[in-house]
Symmetry: C2
Subunit: 217 residues, 2 copies
DNA sequence: CTGTTAATGAACTATCTAGTTCGTAACAAT
DNA sequence: ATTGTTACGAACTAGATAGTTCATTAACAG
């Protein structure tokens, strides 16, 4: 099932299921993110790997199941990244600002993830719904936000009684939109939103936005 | 070129170029918004009209040009809607809040527009760039925001010196994300973001968010 | 009422594409 | 070495799909 690690460290294996499988997944992620679900070609994905189309069906069964496997992969990576957030011992204002900036950095760095999410929403989430893996992928961010909001109300730093999901949406929306809609926005307003010269200012902006909202009047 | 209005008001025309053309456009808008560019089938679009596929190519030349025509149509509609904004004689705080809520309502009501924008961004704006119509579609919103921000700084209601495009993005992001990402968000957090019970609260939230941000500390 | 042109429809085609078939080679256990 | 199993590749197929061909009909000008 796994690579031969307990048997013999044969360095130059010509047949390696794990590697073939993950190579297919990586290439599929790139192609699906670039062309969308319907736009992606199974033949092209195969051509971009060292293996053949036959193997895609051998390991994943169908184009759709391959796509779902890609979704599971990127969402799991995101979740893993989120776990590294350590805002427990910060003051509420600093904590929420840190979380916002961290989300900003994450979205800025994971363009393919953003595209895949956008694509999946165009398909009304019909594929993500078929994945049991993702259905049970609770999001720790909500717990973190809940704790920050409560602490902020107690300390008096915040006066707005906000809903944690709403706050998460507010932060995500800003970070997501800036990357996801950069092309139409650029065409209409002539500004490259993701260009380096806007990055730091917008990063500061998310934090100040959430803090100002929670602080209230 | 146009319907026979100067010639004779023949009520029951069986052949009407304008009507055939606009019917194709309307159906195409629905299908492209539902299935994406690659996912949409020209045959299906034809089947959903009273005419045939032949007419699509007669009037639009290709699938891509039809798609571009749809983009031009929806963007022009949005621009027309934006013109109705009258915030000139309101106090800056009220003005920006009104604009935010108006954007919220607009995005809430035009789901197909949102989907088409998302789709076009997945294609990196390659189609919107080919449209001269849209390239020269200046956006009056920016002028409005600029004036509101200046007035707010003068009156002292605002202390944050914000960039108009950034402010527009902040508002759009919230309104867009809530609709565009409702499916994956729903799958992950178990909340139907666009359900009626959240609508009023989120609508208030956009306004308060922008006002709080601009007001500053 | 007749010729000209814009508008239309049915059926066709070349190409593409998801998915399969069949056979083979590498590896592990014995 | 032998055998069973896992991993693999080349070539094929059935169906779908964007785009076309060719013939026809409705409207209108004169």
């Amino acid at each position: 099932m796994a690579s031969p690690s307990g048997t013999r460290p044969s360095a130059a294996r010509q047949r390696d299921a794990d590697r073939t499988r993950s190579e297919i997944l990586e290439v599929a992620q790139r192609v699906f993110a670039r062309d969308g679900y319907a736009g992606a070609r199974v033949d092209e994905i195969a051509d971009l790997t060292r293996t053949t189309k036959r193997m895609i069906y051998y390991y994943f069964g169908s184009k759709e199941q391959l796509y779902i496997a890609v979704l599971e992969k990127v969402y799991t990576e995101v979740r893993t990244a989120e776990r590294t957030v350590d805002v427990a011992h910060l003051a509420p204002t600093s904590a929420i600002r840190t979380l916002a900036e961290l989300t900003f950095d994450h979205h800025d760095a994971h363009r393919e993830f953003i595209k895949l999410v956008a694509i999946e929403n165009i398909h009304r989430g019909e594929h993500i719904r078929k994945s049991e893996v993702l259905a049970n992928l609770g999001t720790p961010v909500l717990d973190i936000i809940t704790r920050i909001l409560e602490a902020g109300l107690v300390s008096g730093e915040f006066t707005t009684e906000a809903d944690p999901i709403d706050v998460h949406m507010m932060i995500s929306a800003f970070c997501f939109f800036r990357v996801a809609n950069q092309h139409t926005f650029g065409a209409l307003f002539g500004r490259e939103m993701t260009a380096p010269e806007h990055r730091a200012r917008q990063r500061r902006m998310v934090g100040e936005m959430v803090v100002a909202y929670l602080r209230g009047r």
